[in-house]
Symmetry: C2
Subunit: 502 residues, 2 copies
């Protein structure tokens, strides 16, 4: 039994190592790679993916899992080994269900569709993207078939991002949220402009401020990097080698929030228990990812719940003023805090504030379900999009580029991903409430720039768990119950109420 | 036959892709990796190395080579396919000869010995390094045994860096060189100091100048990167994704020569014929490397033959003066040219000038042969080193750190590597002479900052060949004959004679 476990662990560690190699190649691609390197890099990533896939779906892994079945059953249900075996079996079985040709067809269509999407968005021409979306949808439905029988194909796709969750669960949450968000937007949306938010903010200074925040939030200097890219993301080479990326714009101080967002993702990965290093419990599953909602809850907690709070800015604003005296010298902290919390009706999801953001997600979730169920045909998508934007946000969509073509996700047919963004927002506040219960003076600490108790609490109660428990179990442990939109709505009401009263 | 060739090519392309992935991980390690990432990175590199090794030594590769034997024999001897099959067979057979355990033992001892060497050098204490060197030597002799019978174990080791060359060939060349270099040093060595060589030279400005040179030498901006590291090197992710590294010191303008040196290596890789992309002919062999001497000839050609020439500085010196007016504003180009060509007796190889450099290499080559043949015991090495330094350079070695412990190479028992450095110097001048014959006004072009004809000639006559021909054949093609120290000695005599006469 010991020998079987050792062999399984050795195989899984090798797969984890190769996955990390893949992550660094992807990071390099996005951060440093010369433009001419893309073809060679694509071949490298494909080669690694093939090796990883072959090694993971190997019959021998299944034999080892079978052999270790009685051992797993003999352990306490919450023991690391029992969970390791469960998680590995789940990944192995899911991966074996999908024929390699289908995976390749999805990847190929995704790559071509991405190019088509870039061009279609530039030309604001949905028709040019339509054939790829149709093909992607067809392939994704074939993918869902691999997991038949199912109640709803959406359940299958959601399971890749949010294991165990069903479309009906999401629907129940979004049905509560939608009217609340619509009414909050109606009450608080404004068109006011804060000229001081346009800078100029020297890029090097933004970088230095970002590093300062990240290290105060909890990173030791030798355990991470912060680099520039076009579409910021977080990845890692090891639990003590976290790669955060960001972007800067001289006329926008939003990079500080981007840094906090990616830092939140990074702190999650950084906090995984060392025992799970190089195993599927390190939050680096073989083919799918672990609870995007939980991951997003942490980027949002640090970016929004902490990073857009008055206590945070009472600590950090003087540093920012000092750095940009000609822009912010005469702007009081309250005005800055208000500026970074304005509710605005916008067409673009990634520019949306905390309140309107959820409406953008609800729209996408609904349309994805309609597409997958066949109730909506691809050619009718733009009209459906524009109609729903008007209903939810009261805005006219002037063109496809600022409408149905704005997001990259559908180019590789990643249906089921969008809802996790909003579930993350919802969860971020639930978790924050629990942290506040445990650390009653957390806001005082934040005003002093001390985030250590908060970081420790999150590490102990969430980050260290890695992928050991299911998302539902993890959420239960850290938030004391299932996903509940109540606290999030209350948080928005309180914040906007306070800003309106001030 | 077509199917077998296609399968072989597919397998080799995958191995090339995985090798490139390994290269980028190594590059990242040396350039960007946070200090805490080293353990995870070592595991990733080991995992990749295992996969690459397994895939390459696979019996199937041998079967395909056997199956393709008649096809190869039916082709003209110089055809790409015939050569591909030959090179692949050579690599495959060499790799299969060495037991995996021995490779692992060498790697393990190398890693430990490296740590020991770093500490021993800091403490200038050879005794602390001695056990690792003894173990490395023993393992390396076992490695040589894998290729028995042989005349000289040194031949076996040299073959990994300079395929087909024998220790006796090197000896014959070095026996001509030694007295010539000793007499040149006696005639021209000086202790004069040029204060202007100590700067200060702002690091950002050195970087900008380096980029300017590299792009003028022949790199298109989107096809390479130049980054900082501790020990500069060149690597690549694709034929159009070349990674050059360098280092800067505010009190030393040597970075320009480092940039030209690594640029030379880079241009070689950059110029390999696209047909050899992702094959063993792309100069990325499976386990060993292709003619380090040829590779070094190109770093030296660009660094020294071009980069320390008066025509080059007639073009570039005004740019450097403009950049550092307070340091160089009053220094004429001739004085600068003299400063970068001074002959000095130094203890440290990497600081040596063109003339003394060869003596450092000859010393190491002799001692390596004595160690491997058993004529010299490891404990007696420091005394042998110091004695020979006095004979060759007339210097007393004050401590092991500036003597026998100065180089990293023996920590992983890389005996046989050192001679290639000097063979590269020798070759650089032979090749330069041929280029000059073909482009009679090349020096005029250089004075105008135009290196395009030189770069094209080198690409056509050397770089594009990749690893298609053996080193001896390649040298014959590009230099018109075997390695010959004559032109190198004449080049040094001419240069130093000119400087002495001026």
């Amino acid at each position: 039994m010991d020998a079987a476990l050792a062999e399984l662990r050795r195989r899984l560690a090798e797969i984890a190592d190769l996955r990390r190699a893949e992550k660094i190649l992807t990071w390099d691609l996005a951060v440093w790679m010369p433009a001419s390197g893309s073809e060679a890099r694509a071949a490298q990533l494909a080669a690694l993916e093939t090796v990883i896939h072959e090694r993971f779906v190997d019959d021998r892994v299944g034999e080892l899992l079978d052999e270790l079945e009685p051992y797993g059953a003999s352990l306490p249900a919450d023991s690391d080994d029992a969970r390791l075996l469960q998680v590995t079996r789940r990944d192995w079985e899911k991966t074996r269900r999908v024929p390699r040709e289908l995976v390749a067809a999805l990847a190929k269509n995704g790559a071509e569709a991405y190019e088509a999407w870039v061009k279609a968005r530039e030309a604001s021409d949905f028709a040019a993207f339509r054939p790829w979306l149709e093909r992607g949808l067809e392939l994704r439905l074939r993918y869902a078939e691999c997991f038949a029988p199912y109640d709803d194909p959406y359940d299958v796709l959601l399971d890749d991002y949010e294991p165990g969750m069903r479309a009906a669960d999401v629907r129940a949450i979004f049905e509560v949220l939608e009217p609340e968000l619509v009414s909050l937007v109606a009450e608080h949306a404004s068109d006011e402009r804060d000229d001081f938010m346009r800078g100029p903010f020297a890029v090097d200074a933004q970088h230095a401020l970002s590093l300062e925040i990240i290290e105060r939030f909890g990173f030791a200097p030798h355990d991470y990097r912060l680099d520039r890219t076009v579409h910021p993301f977080m990845t890692y080479s090891g639990l003590k080698d976290i790669r955060i990326t960001t972007r800067y714009d001289e006329n926008d101080i939003n990079s500080l929030f981007t840094a906090m967002h990616e830092c939140g993702h990074g702190l999650y990965q950084y906090g995984v228990a060392p025992e799970y290093d190089r195993t599927p419990l390190e939050t680096a599953p073989a083919e799918t990812d672990f609870s995007m909602a939980l991951h997003e809850s942490q980027s949002r907690l640090w970016e929004n719940v902490v990073g857009r709070s008055l206590p945070f800015w009472r600590w950090f604003y003087p540093r920012v003023q000092q750095t940009f005296p000609s822009v912010l010298g005469n702007v009081p902290v309250e005005a800055f805090h208000r500026a970074v919390n304005r509710v605005r009706r916008t067409l673009i999801r990634v520019d949306a504030d905390e309140t309107t953001y959820g409406l953008h997600v609800i729209l996408r979730f609904e349309l994805e379900q309609e597409l997958l169920s066949g109730r909506l045909a691809v050619p009718d998508l733009p009209v459906a999009w524009n109609t729903r934007v008007f209903e939810l946000l009261g805005l006219d969509v002037p063109d496809d580029a600022s409408g149905v073509l704005q997001d990259v996700h559908w180019s590789d047919a990643s249906f089921g991903y969008f809802p996790t963004y909003q579930l993350g927002n919802v969860l971020s506040v639930q978790i924050w409430e629990k942290a506040k219960e445990a650390i009653p003076n957390v806001e005082e600490q934040m005003e002093r720039g001390d985030f250590s108790a908060l970081h420790s609490w999150l590490r102990e109660n969430l980050y260290s768990l890695g992928r050991k428990f299911t998302p539902a179990e993890t959420i239960e442990r850290v938030a004391g119950g299932p996903i509940d939109p109540g606290p999030y709505v209350q948080y928005l009401r309180d914040k906007q109420g306070m800003l309106a009263a001030a």
